[in-house]
């Protein structure tokens, strides 16, 4: 009884402010973006890495893969560095936040698949 109330509460609260952004479902795969930009900030940590880039006058957060996958694909911290040009192909958040999930990124002429 109490547990079902707790679950009901969890379901009610779920649509409130989204702090996290997991899976591919919250991104709109029907509106892919290809952006040429410069890496303004980079963090390659768990649970997943992020880049900051400028696009259309806004600062975008680009969600990358976890360090284990980044490393497996060769996108190490010596490759993905601040100040480098980057091409990002990804999908924007459905809710309009300036955030995209990267399907792949290109740095130094190499493409890194991140899914």
């Amino acid at each position: 009884m109490f547990a079902s109330r707790l679950l009901a509460a969890a379901l009610l609260l779920a649509p409130l402010p989204a702090l996290a952004h997991h899976g591919w479902g919250s991104y709109d795969a029907a509106k892919p973006l290809t952006v040429d930009a410069v890496i303004e900030e980079v963090e390659l940590g768990n649970p997943h890495g992020t880049l900051m880039i400028s696009h259309d006058g806004r600062k975008w957060e680009v969600v990358l893969a976890p360090p284990s996958r980044m490393q497996a694909r060769g996108a190490t911290s010596s490759v993905v560095t601040k100040g480098k040009p980057v091409k990002v192909y990804g999908y924007p958040r459905r809710d309009g936040t300036a955030e995209m999930r990267a399907e792949w990124i290109e740095i130094d002429g190499r493409r890194f698949e991140l899914r």
Binding site: F2, A3, L6, L19, P66
Partner: protein
């Protein structure tokens, strides 16, 4: 509280976990596997109390399975802390995480009540039966809320 969590997040251990290629995914996998072991042990004890499973006497079932549950809980706590630390401040604001902590607190309190009633009134008492059922519901809710952390 927020300052403390930000200090935790800025610690050397947090930085180590955040940048780890193996530790974080290992903790992630071990956490889930330990949850399965924990719930298997808990479910057998609860289902025995509820007489869905019969045969072996209740004290013997508890004697055999409680160490399994406690051991798994230690692994769950250690790996859970490892997963929490790199994003301590953000996770502490996560509604699913807060509900999960509440569910754990209720589930642990529920064990105490169950144990107390079992000693005082015996295994067929109403309190023991109700808390055995609650135990199943609360631990399953805890697991569900844990998975929900990544999505809210």
């Amino acid at each position: 509280m927020i300052a403390l969590l930000e200090a935790v997040q800025a610690s050397a251990f947090a930085a180590y976990v955040r940048d780890s290629v193996l530790l974080y995914p290992f903790a992630n996998v071990a956490h889930v596997v330990a949850v399965m072991v924990f719930f298997a042990a808990v479910a057998v004890m609860d289902l025995r109390l509820l007489r869905v499973i019969r045969g072996m006497p209740v004290p013997l079932v508890i004697e055999r399975l409680r160490p399994v549950a406690v051991g798994a809980l230690v692994v769950i706590a250690a790996t859970g802390l490892t997963l929490f630390v790199p994003e301590a401040a953000a996770t502490a604001r996560n509604q699913a995480f807060l509900l999960k902590l509440a569910a754990i607190a209720l589930a642990l309190g529920n064990i105490a009540v169950n144990e107390w009633a079992l000693r005082r009134d015996g295994e067929s008492s109403r309190t023991v039966q109700v808390t055995a059922g609650l135990s199943l519901a609360l631990w399953l809710s805890t697991a569900a809320l844990g998975r929900a952390i990544a999505y809210v």
